[in-house]
């Protein structure tokens, strides 16, 4: 019980984030921006990322509460903090986690010196989870039903998904004409572990009865699908977890897991030389879970009448067994399919402070560029319920040759005070970038609702000044 309560109420504080990478999006000096828009206006002769160091990103955040409200060392009883947290959140609050690590990445221009077609490819590992705050279940676990006569506890508040996967991808980016760039990226997903419980419904209600003391009933339609963890979930498992994981993970990561397919689509359009519009769809795909699948269901209806029949035939009434028979906790093994969280990005950018080249520079084929730009971005992502939305205003500036910055201000469900900053530098062919958002929260990170950072090292030949 305690474990369940802790799981329901607390782990959420560690697993939280937004997947919006508003600083990296359309920050075209970075080839990694192609992962957010395969049609981004990125230029290079070739590039490759430093293995395991080219792209590291993690996001933490949550709506409704922060780590400080739960774990502050302030002498307040922890149980009271949990109660306050439950009182201040609702079923619309959520916690998501997203972490990505590029294992390798690279790209090259195809079709010769004058060509404006580019290929990029790579592999990254991703951890992705989304947990809605299970308000009614938390109230039931913490307080019971005695003081909630008449309340219908919504079992559908339970909505959880978590996935560890690796992604192999190849993208093609082509400048169609002076105004339009299109891009597409194909992906193969190899799911290492998946747990999905997002289509739950049902209720548990206790009302004052007329004849019975209570009219009490439960209608449960709960299901948890898992893949990749059957061995570890088996109650008879007694292996060495660390060594088993060490053997399993690489094999599943390199196409040995449950496989899926997806694509990214994107474009960049210049209606004027200094006006740019972009849009992209990322992770339009699915994963088919057929291997190593275990599903748990808790489905059925039951009216709690207690002992309610004159069993004069001598049989022994067993209401508890009747309940277990009516709503059995079943373990099944049937395959299922999950959709990847679909992300949509779009931006509008106005550039100014045009600079013209005064001497031949063989590193770039651009004859002019803009030193500064302002713009706005829209981000949307599908979730098990309503889409997650974010709106960003930004300012980009080329500070010096080889040093560019992008400052952002974002409004989303986590915060109205999200200021971010990204810097990318290129010295010769060596490129380093660092980005972080919610900078105002860095004065006390424990009170932040969301934090994001991304860093990476690449080797880039050529490159864009846009």
């Amino acid at each position: 019980m305690r474990k369940i309560t802790i799981l329901l109420c607390l782990t959420i504080s560690f697993y939280c984030s937004s997947q919006n990478k508003e600083i990296l999006y359309n920050f075209t000096p970075q080839p990694q921006s192609l992962l957010l828009n395969p049609g981004a206006d990125v230029k290079y002769k070739w590039f490759f990322g430093v293995p395991l160091l080219s792209g590291i990103s993690a996001n933490v955040g949550s709506t409704g509460f922060d780590a400080y409200s739960l774990f502050a060392n302030d002498g307040v009883d922890f149980s009271i903090k949990v109660k306050n947290l439950i009182a201040s959140t609702n079923r619309k609050d959520y916690i998501t986690a997203n972490q990505q690590l590029e294992v390798f990445t690279g790209g090259f221009r195809v079709g010769g010196e004058q060509s404006k077609s580019y290929v990029s490819f790579g592999m990254y590992q991703e951890l992705d989870s989304f947990i809605y705050f299970p308000t009614d279940l938390a109230i039931l676990a913490l307080y019971g039903n005695k003081d909630y006569i008449g309340k219908s506890f919504n079992l559908g508040d339970l909505s959880v998904k978590a996935e560890l996967l690796s992604v192999f991808h190849v993208g093609f980016n082509k400048q169609i004409n002076e105004k339009l760039i299109l891009g597409i990226r194909g992906k193969i997903y190899s799911s290492i572990f998946n747990a999905t419980s997002t289509h739950n419904s049902g209720y548990f209600v206790t009302k004052n009865g007329a004849n019975l003391i209570y009219d009490q009933s439960i209608n449960s339609n709960l299901e948890l699908n898992t893949s990749g963890g059957a061995k570890y979930l088996d109650k008879n498992y007694d292996g060495d977890l660390a060594s088993d994981l060490k053997n399993d993970l690489p094999q599943k990561a390199f196409l040995g897991g449950n496989l899926g397919l997806g694509i990214d689509l994107g474009l960049t359009y210049y209606p004027e030389r200094n006006i740019q519009v972009t849009a992209s769809l990322v992770d339009l795909g699915y994963i088919s879970h057929t291997k190593d699948v275990v599903d748990y269901t808790f489905k059925g209806k039951y009216n709690f009448e207690g002992v309610s029949e004159f069993n004069s035939d001598g049989t022994i009434d067993d209401a508890y067994q009747d309940f277990k028979d009516a709503i059995p906790l079943d373990t099944l093994y049937h395959k299922y399919t999950t959709q990847r969280p679909l992300k949509f990005y779009s931006s509008f950018q106005y550039s100014f402070e045009e600079e013209r080249q005064t001497e031949c520079n063989c590193e770039t084929d651009e004859d002019s560029w803009y030193r500064s730009a302002v713009g706005a971005q829209l981000f949307a992502m599908t979730t098990p319920r309503a889409p997650m939305l974010a709106l960003t205003a930004y300012y980009r500036r080329r500070i010096l040759q080889g040093l560019q910055m992008k400052a952002t201000y974002t409004i989303d469900s986590y915060s109205f005070t999200n200021v971010g900053l990204g810097l990318t530098t290129k010295i010769g062919v060596f490129n380093f970038y660092a980005m972080a958002d919610n900078l105002l929260a860095y004065s006390d990170v424990s009170k932040a609702n969301a934090l994001t950072f991304q860093i990476g090292f690449n080797i880039i030949s050529g490159g864009s000044r846009k």
């Binding site: 149980s79 039903n145 009490q216 709690f304 207690g306 309610s308 900053l421």
Partner: protein, 183 residues
């Protein structure tokens, strides 16, 4: 020269970010202090019978012991966390006979370890309403934790025999309220 300059900017920016980022003192060990005191309530038993049902009792006697398994008291969660239980009984009588409503708690050997007797008066023109509450707390909660079966029975007190046309009914409703302290 330029390189050195913007390397410096990068360094300073990183330094400033790091200098200003700090965190309040957090104590994750608090999780071990977590406790919850949920209170759950549910029906325990419900019997309803019309007067002719007791015809066989004649001038008086024991009617049907009704046995219910309650081995859920034996689960580890109950054993570890149940600290108090209220049993509430509500009996309505419109039969012109008095009776005793008995609840007997049996252990694993079917031996009685607790009996509740509720005397209900005969109907005399006004519905008899009898309420009774039995509380098990720290001093005797082990009785419940050792209970495997509960026997519900009615002993009709001597009086005018009931017939197939006797009017009235009895209704026995009861509930269980369990108090937990989950640490």
């Amino acid at each position: 020269m330029k390189q050195r300059f913007y390397n410096r900017i990068l360094l300073i920016t990183t330094f400033v970010l790091c200098s200003f980022s700090c965190s309040s003192d957090l104590d994750f060990e608090q999780v071990n202090d977590f406790s919850a005191q949920p209170i759950f309530t549910t029906n325990l038993a419900y019997f309803e019978a019309k007067a002719p049902y007791f015809e066989s009792a004649g001038g008086g006697g024991q009617i049907y012991p009704y046995i219910a398994k309650v081995d859920f008291f034996d689960t580890s969660f109950i054993k570890d966390n149940l600290i108090k239980t209220d049993l509430y009984f509500r009996i309505k009588n419109t039969i012109p006979r008095g009776y005793n409503y008995n609840v007997t708690f049996l252990d694993v050997n079917d031996a009685p370890i607790k009996t509740i007797n509720i005397a209900v008066g005969a109907y005399n023109g006004t519905e008899i309403l009898k309420e009774y509450k039995e509380t098990f707390d720290a001093t005797n909660i082990d009785i419940l934790k050792n209970t495997k079966k509960m026997v519900f029975s009615i002993a009709i007190l001597p009086g005018t025999p009931l017939t197939a046309t006797s009017p009235g009914r009895i209704e026995m409703s009861s509930s269980l309220t369990a108090y937990f302290d989950v640490k």
